[in-house]
Amino acid sequence: MAAITTRNLSKTYGGGLRDPGDTVALAGLDLEVHEGEVFGFLGPNGAGKTTTINLLLNFTQPTAGEAFVLDRPVADSQVRSRMGYMPESVNLHDYYRGRKLLEFYAGLAGVAQELRAERIDRLLRLVNLEDAADKRVSKYSKGMAQRMGLAQALLGDPDLLILDEPTASLDPVGRKEFRDILQELKRQGKTVFISSHILSEVESVCDRVAIVQKGVLKRIGTLQELSTGGPTVFRVRTLPAPAIEALATLGAELTIAREGATIRCADEAMAQAVTQLLAQHGGQIVQAESETQSLEQIFLTAIDAKDEARK
């Protein structure tokens, strides 16, 4: 069973009197998030991440396509009893005190009366807000509100957790604690869908990632899958002169030293061409290895970074 499925999910804003021009926020997104995985949803500002979340929570209606969560249509409000959501800007009903707020949300989430007190205490401990449980939420700092936002998302013991920029207001200690909580949720077999800008964080916790830009899915896969097809480095012992000229024509990056030469190929197609060329000219490959790409490199390669810089 897929935790999240979207088929040709599209959303266009505008077209009204106030905003006659259409803005394509999401263009035919096909996505499948498996049960039990931590899934990173990445993209620059305005890529369509929050729009996707809005559609998954039925806050907005798609212009085309469809979306399912936990095998139910997103319009079915009852499916949200198995979901938890933490918004990017955690705006809570701040006229409550911490514990009372969680009691109110627990009622809405359908948590049985006899389980509430124990669960609220456990969550307050988990997000480190025990001492602020009886403080008015309006007096909370941004970081505390974000922790409370996570606690309310976990109240219904959800199978699927949707987190929109969950660590934006957390300090480094808070981020570390948040990563630990995610690891624990992963161990419990929960599905977590995280939209984030903080690539290092996603890299450390996510099983799979998707990269979107301008509403279009650019890449999707495990970090290992995404890092293949990147630069390949060949070390060769002998390199005849015609081969050097041919390599220059291909655009490969060549470094010649006394013990041999190093040829760096930008992608897999170039690596194949270099292998053929070396075979033709009698170049002897001593070692071939793919360079491991960081998520940041994968991200920057996937999106049109120059176009983003111009925004």
Binding site: N54, F59, V79, R80, Y85, L108, G149
Partner: protein, 270 residues
């Protein structure tokens, strides 16, 4: 507890934490009390003046015929009744302002602040949300009407007026009028800023138009709910009239809430 009732309870809590609203309610009731005292003082001084004139042989009143004296006394009573109606008008208008504030902000403030995202991310349907918010606002309005009614009864006692049977229905009809206005304000607040929604609701609901104005035939009328007008014009209502008016109000509120629900379901929460 049922989710709708939970939202209603939260709505009451949210409304009572709005300082502006609490200030408005206190000011409205205080104004009612002040107006009551002013009318009471004016009425007493008029009564005393009349009594003095009747007893004083040099007064022009003393030279009046019995018929003229009776007419003079009746005009004094009419003036007193006018004060009474003025009092009810102040109480009703204050309630209208309070109602517009309560109902126009009940849902729109959640949308504007973004708290609706957390609520609707729970297994809460938009119908439950809307009905819960409306019920919460109704509860606050009921409490306000109860306090305003107590002030009215107190006024009636201080004036030593025998309560007209028709006036017994004033709080009930005033309450329903406010629920009708509130339903319109809530519906309009889903299309526009709550202040604009309140202004439009007030414009359509407080006699800014008449039967000479084409709007009269298009917009709902709350005139029959302003009982002070009926009392002033001498048309007293009976229980059946009040029953029909209540039924009309219920129908009206249901239609407005259905329209509001249609709008809320379509509304993009971004």
């Amino acid at each position: 507890m049922n989710r709708t009732l939970l939202i209603a309870a939260d709505s009451i809590r949210a409304l009572l934490h709005k300082r502006l609203l609490v200030g408005l309610m206190v000011a409205s009731i205080a104004l009612t009390v002040v107006v009551s005292m002013m009318f009471s003082t004016a009425r007493e001084s008029m009564t005393e003046s009349f009594a003095v004139q009747i007893d004083d042989p040099k007064s022009p009143t003393a030279k009046m015929t019995e018929k003229e004296k009776r007419q003079f006394k009746e005009s004094m009573e009419e003036a007193s009744f006018g004060f009474q109606m003025g009092f009810y008008f102040v109480a009703s208008f204050g309630g209208t302002i309070v109602a517009l504030f309560i109902f126009s902000t009940a849902i729109s403030s959640e949308i504007r602040s973004g708290t609706i995202r957390v609520t609707l991310a729970k297994p809460v349907s938009r119908t439950q949300f809307l009905v819960g918010k409306y019920l919460g606002a109704v509860a606050v309005m009921a409490a306000y009407t109860a306090v305003a009614s107590i002030a009215m009864v107190a006024f009636t006692h201080t004036q030593r007026i025998e309560l007209s049977p028709a006036l017994t229905y004033v709080p009930w009809l005033m309450f329903w009028k406010h629920l009708m206005l509130g339903a319109v304000a809530m519906l309009l607040s889903l299309f526009m800023h709550p202040i604009v929604a309140s202004a439009i609701t007030l414009f359509t609901g407080n006699g800014f138009y008449s039967d000479r104005n084409p709007l009269y035939y298009l917009l709902p009328s709350y005139g029959d709910f302003d009982l002070y007008r009926e009392v002033f014009s001498g048309t007293l209502m009976d229980v059946a009239d009040v029953g029909w008016l209540t039924l009309y109000a219920i129908d009206f509120v249901v239609v407005m809430l259905l329209l509001a629900l249609w709008r809320l379901r379509k509304k993009e929460i971004v």
